[in-house]
């Protein structure tokens, strides 16, 4: 087929390459506008607190101060980014109302003539906060008596009545009973900052025709526009979003955090307003990938076939869940790995704590599953007494196999990929592994197992 193609398959030069090497590629922050104002946030210094009072008096006296925005200025101050695709409930505040749930939560937006003036005014906003007990561990948050982060009485995201995303195939407990080996593991991963070299930001500009143009480095232009329209309670046609050139994303720029408040600021001042995260805000305030704790229990037959896999995963969502509930669904769909396992049980919990919120990052729910599963596979190999290649080959899924989520595998090529990797590193595979393919199983000796 490749022979029939002209340019697909060719390493043509990047179309933005010359712009990149000359510095002419225009990122959002390379624009500036006459009269542009700057927005900086007053953020919670505490992990969990009740807001008693906000005193703006000293801030308002700062030379260059233009105005402040608080929760009452935001037309629809409660939202969830995934509300657009039906994920509920609305849970996050653009600006905090009565309570802050993590250190760094936005409370007051300060708009000023310069960044320096904005920073100075931020330093002069006095917050009266009453500290509340906080919870930081993904399992402690589930224990009775733990401080409750959400507004609905427990610390889990609810999946259609369940506190976790469930996947069930076969009967794991029965299979554990007849397994020759049980291998258990618990895996922990740290939260990860996406760390694009360009921080998240935007500039909102009032136009002559009453519309607002928002130059943004969002990864999802319409997601940002639609959420902004909802939060500001304006028709979408008042908004014009321009982007498409992003200085690295890695999932860090799919949250709709900067555009709504910057656009509101432009509306309230009738001036262009720039709001971009500082590097420390990017690291300490913007959402990260969740910390994960993953428990795996596997039942294995004497010959090395995994006959049952039970996975219980907890993603620490932080104070707001953003895209994380969806990551748990993706995680649950992939938490058995690329293996044919007839009995699977997966419970994946999205848990709220008083940490920095979490959201998307490259590998959304799967990277951490792959880490846990592939370390687990080595432990299984060691227990069964085969090498790491063999254990993966004999368990590898093939086309036509039913995955735990009950979709039949269509594009399985794990076996061929492992064969290619073995060849690349000079690892000589035994003939039976070399002869395997991902073709659908027949009724032969390799097929039809439990």
């Amino acid at each position: 087929m490749s022979a029939d193609l002209n340019v697909v398959g060719q390493s043509v030069e990047r179309s933005d390459g010359i712009g990149h090497v000359t510095g002419r590629t225009r990122f959002f922050g390379d624009r500036s506008f006459p009269g542009m104002l700057h927005l900086k946030m007053v953020r919670s210094p505490l992990d969990h607190a009740r807001i008693i009072g906000i005193d703006l008096t000293d801030a308002e006296r700062v030379s260059g101060f233009v105005r402040a925005l608080t929760a009452s200025d935001v037309p629809h101050n409660l939202y969830t980014i995934l509300g657009l695709i039906g994920v509920e409930p609305e849970e996050e505040f653009v600006l905090a109302e009565d309570r802050v749930r993590f250190k760094g939560e936005a409370i007051v937006a300060i708009i000023a003539e310069s960044e320096a003036a904005a920073l100075e005014a931020v330093s002069k906003v006095h917050l009266d906060l009453e500290e509340l007990p906080a919870v930081f561990d993904v399992e402690e948050a589930l224990r009775p008596g733990a401080p409750i982060v959400t507004s609905w009485g427990n610390n889990t995201f609810m999946y259609e009545g369940h506190p976790c995303r469930r996947v069930r195939l076969g009967d794991v407990e029965a299979a554990f009973e007849r397994a020759d080996h049980i291998v258990e593991g618990v895996y922990n991963t740290s939260p990860i900052e996406q760390a694009p070299v360009e921080t998240t930001g935007c500039i909102a500009v009032p136009e002559a025709n009453g519309r607002y143009t928002v130059y943004t480095n969002t990864q999802a232009l319409y997601f940002s526009l639609d959420n902004t329209a909802i939060i500001l309670q304006v028709p979408g046609n008042r908004l014009h979003f321009v982007g498409g050139t992003v200085g690295g994303g890695f999932g860090g720029k799919v949250d709709v955090i900067v555009e709504p408040i910057a656009t509101l600021a432009a509306m309230k001042t009738n001036r262009p307003v720039r709001f971009a995260y500082s590097r420390s805000e990017e690291m300490q305030v913007s959402s990260t990938r969740s910390a994960w704790r993953i428990y795996i229990k596997d039942g294995i037959s004497r010959d090395g076939h995994i006959i049952a896999r039970k996975v219980t995963s907890y993603a620490d969502s932080g104070a707001y869940s953003r895209q994380t509930p969806y990551a748990l669904t993706k995680h649950a769909a992939n938490a058995a790995g690329p293996y044919a396992i007839p009995n699977v049980s997966i419970d994946a919990y999205c848990v709220y704590t008083n940490r920095q919120p979490t959201s998307a990052m490259r590998g959304f729910g799967v990277t951490m599953a792959s880490f846990a599963l592939e370390v687990q596979m080595d432990k299984i190999a060691e227990r069964v007494g085969v090498d790491p290649w063999t254990i993966r080959f004999i368990n590898a899924y093939r086309n036509g196999d039913m995955k735990p989520h009950r979709k039949l595998a269509e594009d399985a090529t794990l076996i061929e990929t492992m064969q290619a990797a073995a060849a690349l590193v000079g690892h000589v595979l035994p003939d039976d592994l070399r002869a395997m393919t991902s073709a659908p199983r027949d009724a032969g000796p390799d097929g039809g197992r439990d």
Partner: protein
Amino acid sequence: MASRIVTFDLGGREVEVMVRPMTTLQSVLRNQLGFTATKDGCRQGGCGSCTVLVNGQPMLSCLLPVEDVAGQRVTTLESITPAEGLHPIQQAFLDAHASQCGYCTPGMVMVSKALLDHDPAPTDDAIRHALTGNICRCTGYRPIVTAVHSAAEAVHDAADAMRGSAGERAR
């Protein structure tokens, strides 16, 4: 808070700017002069995306009050881009796919320029050491290191060709 006028050489032309106290060179370049090739990745001196050359030495424009460079020679990526085509370092970055998002590229090119000006035939070790202050989140760095090697060869070949055309072949 009186503003001051600061004059410096930017890529061979004298520029004069009026600044508030302690305005950074980065801010002057980007916000006052529209020289936005110099990037803005952290303002902490940690990412290298704002690297410019001051009297030929790489420095971080986010940490440099513009008043400190009054009367001095500042070189940015705009300054080294020729009227036609590309600087050999730019060409090498393009050919090696040493940019993905492109945000680190200006800083990387400027450090590479300083390196090749100091040392036209750097070792692999010298290239790697020169780039330790510049963060790239996309490429894994190897394509960038490869580009600097190629650029060094290209500069060297160009010099050879020039000598050759001058009829000074040793052979």
